[in-house]
Symmetry: D2
Subunit: 308 residues, 4 copies
């Protein structure tokens, strides 16, 4: 098995869906190919940017299937599993495992607030349903039950729970996690943190939507951090940060999809009733991408693949 | 068609699911029969208490089917429809309409925050997918995109959007809504409001989980309010309020299911990772139900109706 | 002592301050006279509408002094005491007691979150510093440490803590309080509740800013509620509610001061950096006051009193 | 003028007050001497840790006076000014300026929410009242009106507003601020950020309570960051971070005062109704300080300075 350790830049893939609700296989395949060409270290379908909360069972399954096939084991594929019940989560884990993913990004959704024991039960059940490594996902802003540090410490004892991705904006929380369970668990940044800071404090990379539209620059930033060239890394980080901040002001899925459309990928709009980017937002994103040299990167012509 | 106007007490039905994930038809049928025997004016499957957020498509469909069959058109059945996308919501509406429900309780779920236009689009699409009357559901606590007063005013212009149920605890908000659209829309209370107060300001009833365990008392309270016997209504309301407050302290589905179990209905626990009532909570609920005379009401056999 | 029980309409008085920071005695005296002429049952200087948080020690002292003198014991004066430390609160209580007030409205301010024991210590110390009756003030929106029901139950045992005014918008919370300590403590509504609803559930009146600009109508509403004429009360309540809702959208002090200016009282603007009403807000408030017949009530000509 | 640029470690001084409300001059003088002996680069009386929100006018004035006298111009003294009104803030600025401070830390308090124009008015008035450099303080957690990026951009144009201290935990916000106004304004970290991260992204130091109890270690961390020795800095940062996190769990003033008491400074407890440290918290803080070698540092007599 080639993928004994996840690290580096894992773009959060968008989910291109056509008007009749079908996955646009060719577009997604093309995007995967180009991201791998840009040097990214892994791929994450069905993260928040991938609109997991807006897709049905069949759409989610197809997204994972297409990404696994397009990747051809060149990098690890870590698929998002999100559910309110253990039963649903376990079903997803087994399905994606069977499709050949290399890891599971475990997301808990909730309607009623959930006590810590229930939170631990959920993630433990997800991990027990597979032999694959599991990434805990924590996002205080979009989920009703956050992972506390004590819950993380309990979960770190589960054999295959080996990573954590934190989508808060509280970088100090990550350092507290690393202080507590850093010997057993590796930490990924999300787009609300400054990736260079997370690398400085001991992180191993980032899983984030913006890496879809600036993959080369993201890989370059990762390499500078790994080489300990912090001042040089910060110069690049400072300019890349603009894109994180623009995206934070609008619907994230609309931003990444809109940015990819500007680059020539026909990924479409986010699923209704989410609305596409306004003209203002589109112009602003276009400006930032242009400044970063990220509009020159046109997708190579599509070869023979066709939409389902 | 008998149900030209919804008003009165609409219990939020629980969803009894067995360990293999199947709907417990007999238990649900029995509960429906007993609630009708107690004089309730309508039934609402798949509200929050009905754990709509924890059931899959097949389970939700079966719940509605069983309730419609058990009700035998004696009172209106208003089924909850909850989704993040318009496509999913419309599919649910059409399915439940085909099963024979009398109205739709429309709930919007969201992962990313949604602008007002998107909110209006969603509810309009739900209403356009059916000829049945639609109840707008608004719950600032559990949903990411609340219905503002301007959005409600826009939606009141849609022909079949004729009711609103507000699950905030801000009764003043209801009066503002009644002031603005009271000529076109009727307002239901939820369990976080004091029902007698909502009746006083012009509401037409309540849709709430507690009515599952105190149906006779709820109907009696409704009748006192309708008769303008406000002091007498308040005496009953004051004692009934204790149950709303106990339930507010714990997972609502666990409370109603736990209360029904105490009354002899084998509805089971909420779906994992939600946890059943703790012993403390169960004892507290038992005490309140006993004080209200709601433990004497064993589920079978059904005798004569005796609403005030 | 005439004032053995507070009940009825207690306007939250504004604090008119001139550009040099001096209390405008004549304006305040005039307002007090007119409010008493309109039949209000008590007066509350230094509530939130009275900008207690924006006045210095000398200004607050003078406000209380002027109100006590202008009232001439015709109705009870209940002065707001607000502080972060027990020492400061006790000093204020003793000063206002010496000036001749009839009760203390006790407000806790906090910078760091405060544990329940500290909260109980504060209010107990306030009560122990005087023989006057004390009104607990609770406002979850504007204060960092709210009064929980257990804290209220502990404080209800203090001899002279005999009233509570709750400025949340959660009327159900008031019913829970009345259920728990209603035999020892009387409850006042604030402007975020519907006063008629609070009266229905057992309240004794309201302390609120809007009563400054619609005193006659407020007294009429109170009388209808007391007489059990609930439907008639609700007709009046429904029209009066518009003013509460307009005020909720803007800075409350700016609204009441702006409304009084429209009625001819030269109370001035709220203290900077608070800003006066915008033209839009002023027009909106003018419209509502006109509809309520509250612009016809011009202040009678000022007699001989002059500003300090 | 020696202090043309603030940078480095500025401990947030505690305010030692005796039981009769008087400033404990000798204790405060001693603490100042020892901190200067440990090599700190500046001192900040009347920050949040200094309980500005709990002191009266006379106490605050005396605190500043004692600190200025004890410092004897060896490092800059930047005094906190906090008020709800412009009039009060300006009075404080002028008083502290007359006492000989070197800069003003400007804090806005609010009771009612404040529009951006009011926020800008306040800070502009503070800056216009003095020729000293002004540090903007922003703390979304403890203040009702936060400084938005557009407001900061407007304020950066005021000549003597030249620093900003951000007490959120959102380090990305600091990078956005540096990207926007970094050429005109220098940024300090607070205790909720990881200081080494803020230094990496371009910060100039930190103003924080923990530096009172670990001054030598804080100076050493600053020097490592300045020298670009990031890996070494992170090793120290990782152990120091434990103290920030312990303090975040309790009342911050109680923690710093408690820690200083453990080191032999008789600074007393926070002002009532704030409560002193519980035994559990005291033991936990004692453990962390012991691990950091911060209990060996007895307050007297002062020996040779030994910063790295």
């Amino acid at each position: 098995m080639a993928h004994d350790g996840f690290r580096g830049v894992f773009p959060y893939l968008v989910s291109p869906i056509d008007e009749r609700g079908r996955v646009k296989d060719a577009v997604l395949t093309h995007l995967v190919d180009d991201l791998l060409g840009a040097g990214v270290h892994g791929l994450t379908p069905l993260g928040s940017t991938g609109e997991f909360a807006y897709l049905n069972r069949e759409q989610r399954h197809r997204i994972v299937e297409v990404v696994v096939q397009a990747t051809r084991r060149r990098v690890p594929v870590v698929a998002g599993v999100a559910a309110t019940t253990i039963a649903d989560a376990v079903e997803q884990v087994k399905a994606y495992d069977a499709l050949g993913v290399d890891g599971i990004l475990a997301i808990l959704e909730a309607y009623f607030p959930l006590a810590e024991d229930g939170v631990v039960d959920y993630f433990t059940a997800v991990a027990n349903a597979t032999a694959l490594p599991v990434v805990l996902y924590t996002n205080p802003q979009f989920q009703r039950s956050d992972l506390t540090l004590p819950a993380i410490e309990r979960l770190a004892r589960v054999e295959n729970i080996r990573y954590l991705k934190d989508a808060s904006s509280d970088t100090g929380r990550l350092l507290s996690i690393i202080n507590a369970v850093g010997d057993r668990m590796c930490v990924f940044s999300a787009s609300a943190h400054i990736p260079a800071c997370v690398m400085l404090i001991g992180g191993v990379g980032w899983m984030a939507g913006p890496a879809c539209v600036v993959p080369r620059q993201s890989v370059q930033l990762y390499n500078l951090c790994r080489a300990g060239k912090w001042e040089e890394a910060m110069r690049l980080q400072r300019s890349l940060w603009r894109i994180n901040r623009v995206f934070a002001r609008y619907n994230l899925a609309a931003c990444i999809k809109g940015g990819l459309e500007l680059q020539g990928y026909e990924v479409g709009a986010p699923l209704p009733p989410q609305t596409p980017l306004s003209e203002t937002a589109r112009a602003e994103i276009k400006g930032v991408l242009a400044d970063l040299g990220a509009l020159d990167h046109h997708p190579s012509p599509i070869t023979g693949v066709e939409a389902s």
